[in-house]
Symmetry: C2
Subunit: 331 residues, 2 copies
DNA sequence: CCTACTCTTGGAAACGTATCCACAGAATTT
DNA sequence: AAATTCTGTGGATACGTTTCCAAGAGTAGG
């Protein structure tokens, strides 16, 4: 039924070892390579990854663990990973943990045993939990940093400053910040960046929250913000910003005339909101692809993991996307 | 480094075949089973799933192919599949084909070879392409039907009728339908259902399109609809409906006072639109889980595939979710 | 007491692939 | 012309597991 190297070997009139070499880039004469390739094509031969994995010790598969695929942020990351994987012809297991840290660690153990490496989006597990559960050489953190572990992260502090500076340039002096979950790594980064403005940095930051990092969280925050003297809001992320826009519209507060709103992440919905959302763009699919790349390089190269910290902890730049939800401060 | 059955066999003083039997539930004396289990536990032995897969022919892994993970519709399906997979402890490869049919068929071939079965979301490939590329016993179509193939689909025609009947009950007599891609299976189902209303069925259906099944497609359709005598619109899907809402708002057309809008799919964004969208709910995560279940039953049961058509082509019900975007016809 | 049968166990084969090793012939050098 | 290196190829082996087969030890029945 299924074709094997033996079938190809018979069809091409060569031995199985020659077939294997021809297909995996070994030393073969151009003529026989041609013959073998043609035979393989004609028979519709596909190498059996399981068998290959058994002999090489590598499965060619990788794992991706995300808290929620429904969240566009993680969907984008997954998309980046799978796109890169498709290009290099390796498989990727995806596990959605439903925001459950225990399930996350469990998946980490399972996937760690059955793959060549795993990409982990874990905003909420503790550093200690991750250090204990993950193999530091075959696990890469996506959009999070833990000392000693491989990671790809965006420069969240810089993005936060970009957003605040944008609002300040528009004349805003009282800016509300809608904080997300306390235990989120990205959330702590944002707060650290905002601390710079705390003591006479030219803008007063009014902190609200923690709010749930969802549309509903934003809806809830809308009334809080309107009751405050803030003329602009930096939301924890785009979903929160969209909930906020929703509530502001319902309360009759014009955006950006009465109040400006800036989101974070630049998920695809951000351009579809009403009004279109000014937001901090963070690389998502690019981060996913880069994370996989980190593992692939390690596997491809002599197997020695990068030692320098700058090779183990990659930081990607953020950028502000100005749309219609931010404007000059009301007179 | 890693322990194998041989290590366990040595430690327990038995042969490898006995170890294998003891661990996989074969016929072994209680005493030796106890000994083997203890030795395995002590050595921290974990079976190599790759090797097991090679001999048994089953990997315990499944594949899921989607056109675009960024599309919430497919993200929901993926979520349903992974949730079920996590419960039964099997792995799922996810491939995003970026709406490319060729990549889809390629992925189908690759995954078909390396998994126990694949779940395929393919709105655009032709029946013939699918029949040729897919193993009819280990491939299940999600939200599409092709004669002779396993499938899980929603009753799209019924959903379409529910939407139209809802609008008719609100007094609408001229209803615009924003058709999607011509080559889409779901699109053809919708059109077939609408045909019932064509000849004096109590409502005049004005067809527009095909529009791109995206937010942009809806934006584009907004002006067309306003220039027509229609008082209500059934959009191809929720994304189109949201683009439509966006454009209608920009043009100053009140929804639902001036015109009613109904979407299709009930993606999570539908509740977040402005106004919240009335839409046809189709099971997504449930469909994903059911599709995986179909394959699991086949693998678990005596391996004989279901023969009756009703077991091979599962249809799930749809339902109308009434929110704020639909209202009575203007006077 | 011998046969027939069950139960348990070990040896060996098999799954499909990659790679080591040996070997033949060509190509190159001495 | 002989000796050496290089190139391409086939055969055999190994990866870790499951499973088939045969054989041994009991056990029950005639």
């Amino acid at each position: 039924m299924r074709k094997t190297v033996h079938d190809v070997a018979d069809a091409a009139g060569v031995s199985v070892s020659t077939v294997s070499r021809a297909l995996t880039g070994g030393s073969v004469s151009p003529a026989t390579r041609e013959t073998v390739m043609a035979a393989a094509e004609r028979l519709g031969y596909r190498p059996n990854r399981t068998a290959r994995g058994l002999i090489t010790g590598r499965t060619g598969n990788y794992g991706l663990i995300v808290p929620d695929l429904r969240n566009p942020f993680f969907a984008d990351i997954a998309k980046g990973v799978t796109a890169r994987a498709r290009a290099v012809d390796c498989g990727v297991f995806i596990t959605d943990t439903d925001e459950d840290v225990a399930a996350e660690l469990e998946a980490l153990a399972t996937l760690g045993r059955n793959t060549d490496g795993v990409l982990l989006c874990s905003p909420r597990a503790t550093d200690a939990e991750l250090l204990e559960a993950a193999d530091p050489d075959t696990t890469v953190l996506v959009h999070r940093q833990v000392p000693g572990m491989l990671s790809i992260a965006a420069d969240i502090a810089a993005g936060t400053r970009q957003a605040i500076d944008h609002l300040r340039a528009l004349g805003h002096r009282r800016i509300a910040f809608l904080a997300g979950p306390d235990d989120s790594w990205a959330g702590r980064q944002r707060l650290a960046a905002l601390a710079e403005y705390a003591d006479g940095g030219g803008a007063e930051i009014l902190r609200f929250g923690s709010v749930s990092p969802t549309f509903e969280g934003g809806v809830l925050a809308g009334d809080l913000v309107l009751a405050s003297p803030a003329t602009a809001v930096l939301a924890y992320n785009d979903l929160v910003a969209m909930g906020l826009l929703h509530r502001l519209a319902a309360r009759g507060a014009a955006v950006p005339e009465r109040i400006s709103v800036v989101g974070y992440d630049d998920i695809s919905l951000a351009a579809m909101s009403h009004p279109p959302l000014t937001t901090v763009a963070v690389p998502k699919d690019k981060a996913g692809a880069a994370a996989l790349e980190l593992l692939l390089r390690r596997a491809g190269g002599a197997g020695k993991p990068a030692t320098a910290v700058r090779d183990r902890e990659v930081t990607l730049p953020t950028g502000l996307v100005v749309r219609a939800s931010s404007g000059v401060v009301p007179a």
